[in-house]
Point group: none
Chain length 207, copies 2
């Protein structure tokens, strides 16, 4: 069977359920203009360095056209821009100097059939990590429709109980209090409690 993202609080910025293009306010044109100007280049100079026409650059910067990937490459190449950086978010929105305290048990609950998540530190936007405490209710691997799988990496630490971590490509591992695991979340994974009571883990996901 093939369920999509059966569990886990959404890490994405969320776009409702419609198959819309909606999100991503990324203003590529604006971004490029800033970069060019910060290099104090005229459109003409930028044109020479990139091999793109002056008018084309203008149109791109004013979002009148959507550059092809090859155009973006020329841009990046000519202006010495690192492509991933070009598309990176407008720099950690978390204004320098912020912090959020979450008292024990005061997180945001987020129950599902197999897990019971308590999201810690909700109110900071655009975090690099999403931390939560999770009570593992599943008692057998069959409680899952399919692997949980998504972009990023995860770290987890067992706080209470004993459990088995099932992962794609490997044998399941038994973990006790104090044991921790770091893994690629693209790899299918799922937790099952081995003790009578639910197991409790600290779970941190990073994109």
């Amino acid at each position: 069977m093939s369920v999509e993202q059966p569990d886990m609080p959404e890490l994405k910025i969320e776009s409702g359920s419609g198959l819309q293009t909606s999100v991503e306010p990324l203003q590529l044109g604006k971004r490029l203009r800033e970069i060019r100007q910060s290099l104090s280049l005229t459109l003409e100079e930028a044109s020479q360095k990139t091999g793109l026409a002056r008018s084309t650059l203008s149109k791109i910067e004013n979002e009148q056209i959507s550059p092809t990937f090859t155009a973006v490459q020329k841009l990046a190449n000519g202006l010495q821009i690192d492509i991933p950086q070009l598309f990176a978010k407008p720099r950690s929105t978390m204004a320098s100097g912020r912090r959020v305290l979450t008292k024990a048990g005061a997180g945001t609950p987020h129950p599902t059939s197999t897990y019971e998540h308590e999201l810690l530190s909700t109110d900071l936007a655009r975090k690099k990590m999403v931390p939560f405490k999770t009570r593992v209710r599943a008692r057998s691997f069959n409680d899952f429709g399919d692997w949980v799988r998504h972009e990023g990496e995860e770290f987890l630490l067992v706080l209470e109980g004993e459990l088995a971590l099932y992962t794609e490509f490997y044998e399941p591992v038994v973990m006790s209090v104090g044991d921790s695991m770091y893994y690629d979340a693209n790899m299918g994974h799922a937790l099952v409690s081995l003790s009578e009571k639910d197991a409790l883990v600290l779970w941190i996901a990073a994109r």
Copy 2:
């Protein structure tokens, strides 16, 4: 007094904004195909999720055409891809499917005058997060030469004892077992144990 980075295991800041010269052999199409297949989606399904024609997807994956930026956005949106990551270099060195288990107490010790770090999951290269358990030995803020401060964000959870988190710009906060804190590591910070025994915290840093 002013010590530089008095504590904390090195986070290692990769070639930050180094001059990114020369060409990009970046095979966008190949990359996209890998991603689609890893999600076990057919071209048709991907088409529905992204709003791009089946044929268009095929051509893009086979590098027959160079997608426009708007197309890339639709792709990223529909398949839940993070755009910067899409263009990131050699694909997270952590080959898809890796994991590392660290048994309780089996981490790499890393003692300093005020803290006693136990680094968890050492052997994975290029991780997004650096997790460690720390025993807080400091009993007063004066035990520190200066604020600890560095790039990135941190999350910490109190595992044992009671302690005070001192942060620049704010009043110190008292934290007990189960309390957690998420903060910008650029902001000066330091931990002090309030109980007789050392306090124990789980600490995770992300760049």
